[in-house]
């Protein structure tokens, strides 16, 4: 099951945020084929958002062929986005955790860590392109 979060300060349309979170979960194997997405009512109740936003997100995911809606039953995952890199995820995650622990030990606070991580992430990504 996926737990949606909403960041209204991000400037990203709320429905896009929901779509991205599902794709993210599909990519990381946290959602797999056959899994059910929360019902529109459940998302509305947990996030206090507009049901139209959830419907729009689910329609978009359906359009991309990632999920399918079964009338009266719910919305189910039909395709996974996991690729061959998945086995490498866990060791990389462990290394990243160690790095965070190290940064914390060195006296960086959460904001410092995030800033350092983000700028390095962008530079590294830019270099690769």
């Amino acid at each position: 099951m996926i737990d949606f979060q909403l960041d209204v300060r991000s400037g990203v349309a709320p429905y896009v945020q929901l779509v991205q979170q599902v794709r993210h979960a599909l990519r990381l194997g946290m959602l797999s084929v056959g899994d059910q997405l929360p019902t529109v009512k459940e998302v509305v109740a947990s996030l206090a958002i507009n049901p139209n936003t959830v419907l729009k997100a689910y329609r978009e995911l359906e359009h991309e062929g990632l999920v399918t809606a079964r009338q009266g039953v719910g919305t189910f995952v039909t395709r996974s986005l996991v690729d061959d890199s998945l086995p490498a995820h866990e060791p990389l995650r462990q290394e990243l955790l160690q790095w965070f622990a190290k940064a914390y030990k060195a006296g960086l606070d959460a904001e410092n860590i995030e800033a350092l991580f983000r700028t390095t992430f962008r530079t590294a990504l830019g270099a690769k392109r």
Binding site: A45, A48, N50, P51, N52
Partner: protein
């Protein structure tokens, strides 16, 4: 697409004082509309005109295809909850439900009972003894059990604490997902409505400053930073909403009016969130000497 509300040159004057000036609006059905603006901007006037409590001075307004409050059946299709969610202090919660059932042709007793139980209200309790949050829930229940096609709330959450605010909006959104209803909510704070509205109407100084689908608005507004020279030569297809100059550097909020891609020289163009966008329009509305003086789109073209 069917319109729930259509206004054309809608104007209301209170003596010499303008309440609302030349409003053109077209709101599609099924939306949750956030009506936002500072105090005194004209929000209550627009809601009064929509519900038929106020007559326009000039211009026209159509709600669900006819003049507001034109007939008994039209009244039955619109629910209106005035500011501070008023209830009858001397009547019990149960009395309110009985009253609702007697006064409304399409009253949904089952919905009303279920909701009252869900929010934990006691039928025998006098409404005057309810907390602000409970009162708002009672007013919401009665307005929804009337089964209107359009539900209007004037500043429903202004007097509520953050928790009651969230609970109110949560229950309102559950109604929206259950019933086919268009909702218009006003607030002087965008933050109250940001999570729930998918259509925005921004009022300031008695005029509509901005109106449209939230997703469209988010995808057409940008902040760009550049040298004064760069920003002075913006290509056509961009309207400047606000401009700030510091030294040789300028920061603009622009709206893309066609599909022209953003020029390369503005590679740093950033999306805005709804609040930043609203602030840019409010700044312009209150300071006509700002962006409007050197790069002025007529307000009319922005609606």
């Amino acid at each position: 697409m069917t319109s729930v509300l259509r206004a054309d040159g809608l104007t209301k004057h209170y003596g010499r004082h303008p309440g609302l000036v030349e409003a053109d609006l077209d709101i599609p059905a099924g939306r949750v509309v956030g009506l936002v603006g500072p105090n005194g901007a004209g929000k209550s006037t627009l809601l009064g005109l929509t519900s038929g409590l106020i007559e326009p001075t000039s211009g026209t307004i159509e709600v669900l295809g006819s003049r507001p409050a034109a007939s008994g059946s039209q009244l039955a299709r619109v629910g209106f909850v005035a500011q501070d969610t008023p209830v009858y202090a001397g009547l019990s919660v149960g009395d309110h439900l009985r009253l609702g059932a007697r006064l409304n042709q399409r009253w949904d007793e089952q919905l009303a009972r279920r909701r009252i139980a869900q929010v934990g209200l006691d039928l025998s309790q006098k409404a005057g003894r309810l907390s602000g949050g409970q009162r708002a829930q009672l007013a919401l229940t009665i307005a929804a059990a009337k089964r209107p096609e359009l539900l209007i709330f004037d500043e429903p959450v202004a007097a509520l604490d953050p928790l009651a605010r969230r609970q109110f909006l949560q229950h309102l959104m559950e109604f929206v997902s259950e019933l086919e209803v268009t909702v218009i909510l006003s607030s002087h704070l965008l933050g109250d409505l940001e999570r729930v509205c998918d259509h925005l109407v921004l009022l300031a100084s008695a005029r509509v400053q901005l109106a449209g689908e939230v997703d469209d608005l988010l995808s057409t507004h940008y902040r760009i930073v550049g040298s004064r020279d760069d920003v002075a030569h913006l290509p056509p297809g961009f309207d400047v909403i606000s401009a700030e100059h510091r030294g040789r550097q300028s920061t603009l909020v622009v709206r893309r009016t066609d599909t022209t891609p953003i020029p390369r020289s503005f590679a740093n163009a950033e999306r805005l969130d709804l609040e930043e966008m609203v602030l840019a329009y409010l700044t312009r509305a209150t300071d006509p000497s700002g962006a409007a003086s050197h790069h002025s789109p007529a307000l009319e073209t922005l609606r």
